[in-house]
Symmetry: C2
Subunit: 407 residues, 2 copies
């Protein structure tokens, strides 16, 4: 597996476009399109929130019922959530506009929105934007870069990654882009993520690979504990790589799955790292838990704790908050037998063992905690299962961003 530059346009046959549609923001691109020159197998995972945005309902239908997917239209600024039947009709109108502009079936068009909840889309500007998008499609890296920019809301950086693998002698590419960065606690995911690949793979296996992988990647990320109404992760596979179609769980499937995992994990970490107001990536690695599910619950409880996140922001070794978060996770364990380490590029320190704090140096600990990426490493000493979760610190800026996000 080799990481290459680019994102959604890296795989053969994929194009992207972005325009200023004036949905809500001024003087910035706010609509993007991802388009495959030939029809794709599509797989998707969506928010588990009972309050699902209209585009989530639309896309679930397309992924489940349509034979193929051809394009994805995305707008930032307004989430099209809590918008009733009108919101769903607007998804259909957007797909219809894309259908006419691109000469593809309307039921092969996926639609995604991110932004403020409860506001109706300015549908005229959306359909106008869709037509413009169709006119500026390009397969260049720049087109992918700009699409990744257009889908941002409070994100501070565009997020994309791509890799090349080899399947049956053919070079296969998997690339993706996503956006965060608040209301992030995916439980598939205001997270939107799009992965494109030129691999030839059956729809069933594509969905299975995605559904399995999301559990240990996007679902292990949290910025603020709020599971959005819009979380969507879509994968489009158009087969342009020319590999023999993957239809069973053979070595080719495993190779593809490893690449998909790398793309998903990298994008997921980018979301955590760029969480609203974040100054540091905060990772929790739980090892030697009794079950995989318990390892996941423990790791996620630590990166979700507001108190722990505030301590990370303060570079304060208030390790009791980590133990506290493990303790209320719902998982049973003996606090006296666990070991807690803090680690970063600045070093690794054993903080707690045998029920007592070690006599670690506060100065050293502050150094470790002042790095741009900090890991809490917890050895449960109960079994052999491990899991990693990714979050970020809780800063003044998180509050600032969210106290006046709509203004």
């Amino acid at each position: 597996m080799k990481q290459i530059t680019g994102g959604v346009t890296a795989a053969k046959g994929f194009m992207a476009a972005s325009v200023e549609a004036g949905v809500k923001y001024k003087n910035r691109k706010d609509m993007a399109m991802v388009y495959s020159q030939i029809p794709c197998m599509a797989a998707g995972v969506f928010t588990t929130n009972v309050v699902k945005a209209a585009p989530v309902l639309w896309d679930k239908k397309i992924v489940t019922e349509s034979a193929a997917a051809h394009a994805v239209i995305v707008n930032s600024g307004i989430a099209n959530a809590c918008t009733g039947k009108q919101g769903f009709d607007y998804c259909e109108q957007t797909a219809q506009a894309a259908s006419e502009a691109l000469g593809i079936p309307a039921d092969s068009v996926l639609v995604c929105s991110t932004g403020v909840i409860g506001m109706q889309l300015p549908i005229d500007r959306i359909t106008e934007g869709t037509k413009k998008l169709a006119g500026v499609l390009s397969d260049t890296t720049e087109a992918g870069d700009q699409a990744a920019q257009a889908i941002m809301t409070t994100d501070t950086v565009p997020k994309q990654v791509a890799v090349e693998i080899e399947i049956g002698g053919k070079t296969v590419t998997v690339g993706g882009m996503c956006k965060g960065s608040g209301m992030i606690h995916p439980n598939m995911c205001t997270m939107l993520a799009f992965v494109t690949t030129d691999a030839a793979i059956s729809k069933e296996l594509l969905q299975e690979a995605l559904s399995e992988d999301v559990v240990d990647t996007f679902n292990m990320v949290s910025v603020d504990g709020d599971t959005s109404t819009n979380d969507t992760l879509l994968v489009l596979a158009n087969g342009c790589a020319g590999n023999e179609m993957i239809t069973e769980k053979n070595a080719d499937y495993e190779t593809f799955k490893a690449a998909l995992h790398y793309i998903n994990e990298t994008l997921a970490k980018k979301i955590a790292e760029d969480g609203e107001g974040a100054t540091a990536l905060f990772e929790a690695k739980v090892v030697n838990a009794d079950t995989k599910q318990n390892a996941r619950i423990l790791a996620k409880s630590v990166i979700t704790s507001s108190l722990t996140k505030a301590a990370i922001f303060g570079h304060d070794c208030n390790f009791g908050r980590i133990l506290c978060a493990l303790g209320y996770s719902g998982v049973q364990f003996d606090p006296e037998s666990i070991e807690l380490y803090l680690e970063s590029e600045a070093g690794r320190i054993l903080i707690f063992k045998d029920g007592y704090a070690t006599d670690y140096s506060e100065e050293e600990a502050t150094k470790v905690l002042s790095a741009p990426a900090v890991t809490a490493y917890v050895d449960m000493k109960m079994g052999q299962e491990s899991a990693t979760a990714w979050g970020c610190d809780l800063s003044y800026d998180y509050v600032k961003i969210n106290a006046d996000y709509r203004s």
Copy 2:
């Protein structure tokens, strides 16, 4: 029921004391004692965190196994949590010191701590403080006030309340004090709460009344979603009111329970209102839910949402975040059928109905949201059950307090 002034010393036979023991803070009282002149029935509810502080383990034992309780010793500054066997031994030594100073059995002494996790208590100063406390006991309102001050950590105000009721022609008093104000998401419950009463009631009924009531009072409060290692709520009943002992669930029991509920709910709301960095009390009232438990889950999900809390801080009617929080609570419902109102002393506004935002005035909404206490009122239209939860907004000061709490 009549509210009167005072707290833990309001009921007959109860005394309180507070001293500067120098546990961690300088130049402030940091130890308190509550003492009954005659032995009490004791009931308690404690944190469900797997990582339980040493005093929680000690108090559970006393409440369960001892025939009577006589005194409670509390220190602020250090939580005596994650302190191993030594931490538990320190509880025993504290009880022993109280036993000698007061001439009561060591197993009738309850011990509570609140503050930083993972640090050992300076036991010499604690036992010295305990002896001093025994020397300055008083049944005055002032003694109660000062005890309520001594147990504060990041709290900005002392919290206490007392009421009088009549049982069998006798005046019975129930009073209490508590402290918050971070790591608050009680799930019995760094919350400590102490209720004293001169009612005569059997130990079994006292515990039952407490365990039942806590579900709709302290357990419906959240400041930051972190369930502490130390949460403890103790009730001491010494029978000094002279009422006929309550030993069955008769009208007297209901009268007592109503008074206990008033004390618990008032103290619980005071904790939410004084949450770390809070500028407003934020209440969620869910009505017409299908089950009581679902009503509780929905209400708690709203007051726990970081995004909603930040919007309340900004006086921003970002109501989509409330719908989002209802949606990810785990409870199933039809988003199109619910009604959402925002209310405060400044007015009441219908915000969302039939799947759509109403055309409410943003100016009016901002006015409602700028009050010191704001309620989100949600009508689920599914049944007849209701619940109320109490939280607070998320401000810059929450981050500030918790980024450098230990310093």
